[in-house]
Amino acid sequence: MSALEVRDLSKRFPVGGALRRSHVHAVEDVSFELRPGTITALVGESGSGKSTVARLLARLYDPTSGAVLFGGDDVARARRRRDVLRYRSQVQIIFQDPFGSLNPVKTIRHHVERPLRIHRIVPREQVEERAHELLRAVGLVPPEEVAAKYPHELSGGQRQRVAIARALAVEPKIVLADEPISMLDVSIRIGILNLMLKLKAERGIAFLYVTHDLASARYVADEILVMYAGQIVERGPVEQVLAEPLHPYTRLLLAAVPDPARKAGRIEPRKGLASAAVDPPEGCRFVGRCPIAIDVCSRVTPPLVEAKPGQAARCHVTAPST
């Protein structure tokens, strides 16, 4: 029973000079499911395509190919305003920058009430009351005072809560959180993560939690998707994947994340970037940095193969496709 199904989603951006023949393969053949009442973490480094995936799902970009199935219909193809509006009332997005995601010249009330009015969630007389309820639900009290303020009068953590309240206004089934805590002070990050856990439990929302931070992904998520250079290279239940990662990139990430329990671990530096490539050739994208690469890796792009129950990886060596 999935809330959202993503199938072979791809997005290419044209780059280069006047002729613009080259393309950046920002997202390539991404497939996964979001289930109600679960948090799925999409983990990757900058340029890996994770934010692009979130914006594709929020229909802020149009995909180059692939399908986004919501309630059986491919929303990527939807053109009529009515259909798009219906999708937008079910799928919401929260952005990374708490200062940038609120309009500096509008009050908090405006931000929270607009979705209520656009989608007519409640009749006009009840809009203000519902806005106050939403602010209470995200922990901003007293709501009347908060609603009258402007974004610059709130702290980063409070602004993020406003963004969450705005997203909740339409009573969405799916919330896409694009690095919601990376620009917040360390001590208030956990508060936002706990809020997400609470909302997931109380309202059965399906969250997509996009992040570069493995530790916070482990804290909140049930499922994890690891992205590298536009592709999903590993996926599975979060504990399982982090305890026994299949893909060499996942292992590299785990070795690189600061872990107080281990004093100054070492990794071998190698050439290569996690970001999407321009017109990439066939073969595994990680081959330049991979410690276990074999001959076929530079010739054939490995498919995503379920090597262990529930856990799949894109690797000829650890998840061969025989």
Partner: protein
């Protein structure tokens, strides 16, 4: 004395205090808008050690670094206190003396320094510029040294001819670090050196810095909000909150035996990668506005141990500023609750 000595200088033995900040007070602005960004900080960095300075936004850690380098600009000004490098007070020194001091004795890598490279100059030329600003050296030697340094940070020396935009973020940051080391300083100050970079690149760079430190024996002041990094890479850690140092301890001790409730709360803000998954609490509220800081202990509005029921303690917490006291060898804490426990 030429600054291009390759072997570690004899005086670089761990233990001697290299940089001492005593009762440092730095203010911004004046009149009713005055803010005390740094309020009475005592800090010591010893030769050859890595000291970490952790804190969240607005705690004053960057200001401390700027004060140490004597690069505070109006409206910031050093109100009182001393900044001693090897016993010599830097406050009040002439611009010429400070110029010789900077980059040669102490150098600094600023936040987002990789964006501070001049986009229309080749990397090599920027190296030469930086070196010649602080030392008499001819261009050829400077370029040669630059090449050596680039190799030390893991970049092909041919990249000297590259422009900054041709290098990745991680490479640019390494260039900056190499430039900071070009005149063989005894102390390197790193202010959020890896914040904008990915975890893998971050680790590579920090590994590199560690290796360089082993070879050249400089001390490091590592400033960041990411406490988990400090726990891995430093010898000692100082925690700053609202312009004050609230706790200071050897890195191994801090994780296990943190005494200050803020430090404990901070440690509770980093979810673990291994071990059991349990609910974490973080710290409620947010860092205070330094224009109007809380009375007494600045952390008291957010402290779980500050409750009116414990009247005597509560009175002190809200009225008196706690003082740093040694609770174990090398471990100092500024907290009324801890003092009560010691009494």
């Amino acid at each position: 004395m030429t600054a291009l000595v390759e072997e570690p200088v004899a005086v670089r033995t761990t233990g001697a205090a290299l940089l001492e900040l005593r009762e440092l007070v730095v203010e911004y602005g004046s009149g009713p808008r005055r803010v005390r960004a740094v309020d009475g900080v005592d800090l010591e960095i010893r030769a050859g050690e890595i000291l970490g300075l952790a804190g969240e936004s607005g705690c004053g850690k960057t200001t401390v670094a700027n004060a140490a380098m004597q690069i505070l600009r109006p409206p910031a000004r050093l109100v009182s206190g001393s900044v001693r490098f090897r016993g010599d007070d830097l406050v009040g020194k002439s611009a010429e003396e400070l110029r010789r001091f900077r980059w040669r004795n102490v150098s600094m890598v600023f936040q987002s320094a990789m964006n501070a490279l001049n986009p229309v100059m080749r990397v090599g030329d920027q190296f030469v510029d930086a070196m010649r600003a602080h030392e008499r050296i001819d261009r050829r030697r400077a370029l040669r040294r630059a090449g050596e340094l680039l190799e030390l940070v893991g970049i092909d020396r041919r990249r000297l001819r590259a422009y900054p935009h041709e290098l990745s973020g991680g490479m640019r940051q390494r260039v900056i670090i190499a430039m900071a080391l070009s005149l063989n300083p005894e102390l390197l100050i790193l202010d959020e050196p890896t914040t904008a970079l990915d975890v893998v690149v971050q680790r590579e760079i920090l590994q590199q810095v560690e290796a360089l430190k082993r070879d050249f024996g400089f001390a490091v002041l590592f400033i960041t909000h990411d406490l988990s990094l400090l726990l891995e890479f430093t010898d000692r850690i100082a925690i700053m909150y609202a312009g004050e140092i609230v706790e200071e301890a050897p890195a191994e001790r801090l994780a296990a035996t943190a005494q200050h409730p803020y430090t404990q709360g901070l440690l509770q803000s980093f979810p673990p990668l291994h071990g059991p998954r349990s609910r974490m609490t973080g710290i409620p509220g947010s860092p205070p506005d330094l224009r109007d800081p809380p009375s007494g202990c600045r952390f008291h509005p957010r402290c779980p141990h500050c409750v009116p029921e414990r009247a005597g303690l509560y009175l002190r917490q809200t009225a008196e500023r706690p003082v740093l006291r040694e609770v174990a060898p090398g471990h100092r804490v500024a907290c009324h609750l801890v003092e009560e426990g010691l009494a």
